[in-house]
């Protein structure tokens, strides 16, 4: 008669990581109050790089920034940058004033070291 196998004893492991995120994520929106042609994804990325170059020079422009998503209709995007470059990127976006001689402004809608946190924003919860 085969004996029934006992279930293995429960194992538990807990890992706590503090400030360990390698990347930071920003959800941004570009505002073009004067209207005109909207940049495509590559032009948007070029704009971000030129903002970095304007404020932080060539070294700043070499900061690896990924445009994870870009929506041309709403001009909103999710950017990824290494954590040590967050302040450089955010300051460069804040101080960018012109795109192709048109006024522009970057609005940082949400920022987090977790990409998952950007998928839910309770501040944008609009109820009728």
């Amino acid at each position: 008669m085969a004996a029934r196998a006992e279930p293995p004893p429960a194992a538990f492991e807990r890992r706590v990581l503090r400030s360990a995120a390698r990347h930071h994520y920003l959800r941004v929106r570009l505002e073009l109050p004067d209207g005109g042609a909207r940049p495509n994804a590559a032009q948007f990325k070029q704009l971000v790089v030129s903002a970095l170059r304007e404020l932080h020079g060539e070294v700043g422009a070499a900061l690896p920034v990924d445009v994870l998503t870009y929506e041309e209709k709403t001009l909103s995007a999710i950017l990824r940058v290494i954590s040590s470059g967050l302040v450089k990127l955010w300051s460069a976006l804040t101080l960018l004033g012109f795109y192709q001689n048109r006024r522009c402004a970057f609005r940082v809608l949400q920022t987090s070291p977790f990409l998952l946190a950007l998928s839910g924003n309770s501040r944008e919860l609009v109820l009728d």
Binding site: E13, R15, V16, L68, L115, A117
Partner: protein, 351 residues
Amino acid sequence: MQWSTAPLFWTPQCWEVQFWQLALVSLTVVSFLIPECALLPEVLKSTIADIGEYYLVRNLSIHELVAHEFIDAFVKKGSCYALTYNTKIDQDNTAALLPNGKLILSVDKDTYEELGLQGRPSRYSGKKAMRYIITIDLTDAGFHPESKKHNRVLWALKEKKPLEFDFLLAWYNTGAEGSTLMSYFSKNQIQALKPKITFSTLRDLQCPVLQSNDLQGKPEESCSTEELFEWLGAVLNQVSLDNNSSSFLSTYCCPEPNTVVEKAFLCTITGFIIPEKIIQLLEQLCCYFGEPKLAYWLTLTVHGFADSPVSWRESEHGFHKGGENLYNFVIFRNLDYWLQMAVGAHDDCPP
């Protein structure tokens, strides 16, 4: 910013107790992802349909939540949840009612001084306290209608400094008969709302390979918990997973090793959702593996409100740069699970 992960063999009874200890107070967005699934089983569909309503009451004075009729009808008979709507925790006055009967007020310095109720300075307001937290236990034995405590609180909130907010309310009724929130607040502008539910089927999705007992991953064998967490964020934000390392736009790609699944089911529920409903959903998701399935694991992600004055249990929550407080379950086919909890800088480590 900190998060923790635990794989655990569980039995249904002990798991529910642990979950209660972990539950965020109230939830705004819940998503679950099931790889290798095109159609949702009927049991899950009905659990989602049964997620319940919540209510939005405009211009509700906070002293009404301290009234004994309200406490006896709702707070003592089940779990009542309330949270101010459209208030920012780092700027405005905010209030929340927890299911254990505690009313938490997070107020600025002027309001605190005008109210005259006892509280403590916020942990995240710096050297000069500009924000104070007042906790009122509505179910305390010393808080009966004729007590000094009750009279003082009522006087402060009704006459000294009346505070009015738009509130999100929900009530989990343990079967007791009596009035409903809708009938109790019929004189105020109360609206019943249903959470917004969206379904989508993702095709040809690259999914990381995971080993439940390997949190840190093994090269060529499994991915780590951090890689899964980032990948899940990418899927829920519709990020492309297929980029070259030399691509101009983005170099993000799915962590290795990964497999391509033909289809995956993604459901997102947005609204004011209470933890009791999440437990029911989680139980049903675990039962998904009761029959043989192709999927090796599935995930359930839950976000808390960024502007809630409390996050885990009663620990104070601040916004800082993001206000994130969320958790993610990864449930494996063999019923191991990973629980990843993430908080922002102005938060305590989750329990």
